[in-house]
């Protein structure tokens, strides 16, 4: 049985889908078989980020209504044969599927894949409940902003209420220079509020926009950017490897912050 993990956040636009695509690809690069489920019915994006839009023939709804078999709906990635996508239906909305159906799909897939990753829609309504229904663990994505952290807090509470207690935090779009200047919440600030274990810190990266437009996840690049490396590290930590967190301050490298680091100050 594979692991079923939901990637969620509460707030929109913090990078759930980007994280799902990159972690999925990264795990496949590590040699694991991965199925990504797009649970964002009616607003599907995951196929775009993976560059698989033009290969989608059937969707999860077609499987549930018996229009096709489950394996027919799975879209195989053109670059990594260990990675497949189960697309959401774009023409339907969140009520088109029930938590029970979601559980059936995920449990059927977890028999054949090492990882079942579910990309959760924003919000805490029906779509959220569908997406978390089959999950045994969750990756909660947040950015270092007060609104995103508040929503992540709510989502963690709801996950616990639905008995998903193996939860990890991904802090996305961190700008080390702003943190050093005290203009942005630091990793410690966020962790202090959310108090769940951290599995990854991803720096802000303009390449994400390029990669999204091209449908080429960051981790596929020849020499991945810092954000790409961060996603790769998250995948390795999911695999149980002990990986040091990237030293983002060193890279952002203002002279001031370097001196502060020399003297052991926390930034």
């Amino acid at each position: 049985m594979g692991r079923t993990i939901v990637i969620t956040s509460g707030k929109g636009g913090v990078g759930k889908t980007t994280a799902s695509a990159n972690i999925g690809v990264a795990l496949a690069k590590l040699g694991r078989s991965v199925v990504l489920i797009d649970a964002d019915f009616g607003l599907r994006n995951l196929d775009l980020l993976l560059g698989l839009e033009n290969r989608v023939v059937y969707t999860a709804i077609d499987v549930l209504t018996g229009q096709c078999r489950l394996d027919q709906a799975l879209v195989r990635d053109k670059r990594l044969n260990k990675l497949v996508l189960l697309p959401a239906a774009q023409s339907r909305n969140k009520d088109a599927i029930t938590p029970e159906q979601m559980r059936q799909l995920a449990s059927a897939l977890s028999k054949h894949y090492d990882y079942v990753l579910i990309d959760c829609p924003a919000g805490i309504e029906a779509g959220f409940r569908n997406a978390i229904a089959p999950a045994q663990e969750a990756l909660v994505v947040t950015t270092p902003e007060i609104a995103a952290v508040r929503d992540a807090d709510r989502v963690i509470g709801l996950l616990e209420a639905y008995r998903i207690r193996n939860n990890h935090l991904i802090l996305n779009r961190l700008r080390p220079a702003m943190v050093a200047a005290n203009d942005m919440m630091s990793v410690e600030d966020v962790q202090e509020i959310l108090s769940i274990p951290l599995i990854g810190i991803v720096p802000e990266d303009e390449k994400v926009i390029v990669s999204t437009n091209k449908g080429e996840p960051l981790v596929l690049a020849e020499s991945p950017s810092l954000a790409g490396q961060a996603f790769m590290n998250i995948a390795r930590r999911l695999e149980g490897e002990k990986v040091e967190f990237l030293d983002l301050e060193a890279v952002s490298g203002g002279l001031f912050s370097r001196i502060r680091r020399l003297f052991g100050a926390k930034g």
Binding site: R150, D151, D153, R154, L158, A161, R163, I193, S195
Partner: protein, 266 residues
Amino acid sequence: MSEAESTPVEEPASEETESPEATPEVEQSTPIVSGLALEHGEGRYRLTLPPDLDWIDLWPQLQLYLVGQEHLWSETLPVDCACGQRLLDQSQLQQLAEALSEHQLRLDKIITERRQTAIAAATLGYSVQQGVLPPLLAKETDPDPEPTTNPLYLKTTLRSGMEIHHDASVIIVGDVNAGASIIAAGDIIVWGRLRGIAHAGAKGHLGARIMTLEMAATQLRIADLLARTPDPPNPPYPEVAYATDQGIQIAPAYTWGRALAVSKAP
């Protein structure tokens, strides 16, 4: 920050405090409990489900109570579930039984006023009692409005969106995050960081207090008084908020005894 024994709290202008929307919870004489309760009596528990909460909203609350109070029992205990007018179908009853069994509680009896719920429960093999429930403990025959209910003791983090209503004092061992709220008829004690909203003495008891290791509340309310904590907040040390003629005051816990004597608070 200041060396003063008690730090006066910024309070909104008095006319604002008088306006009805600034004092939302005070007028009521009805119990403030949300209706969800887990009571102990003679080797069994009674779980009372509130009548007006949707299942989807009730579920997180129920989990919160179970996780927060798990430390109170050590052996598997049978539970009577009083559902009142609430309609429960078979799958909801099964979910309930599952949730209880995770916390060493065994769903045993369903007490309901609805025929359909009774049928669903009987189909699943639970003993069923139809009609209005008799009191579990003798205390309920006492119509004294003074809170005789036990304090609610929860060992958990209260996260954004969680709301606790209780007809007596509330003790939280853990943080209360911003976006969470506690509304208690008695005192509120938070052994952790208080960042949400705390309303002590919600039925009008001015002697109620709010005590916490770190007072960073979004808003403090005692009876019909309302205050914000200082911004920027005091450095984190244990503090007590209490009502005086001048409104809500906060004092460091270690000087609070003296502050109380000086201000002659109730």
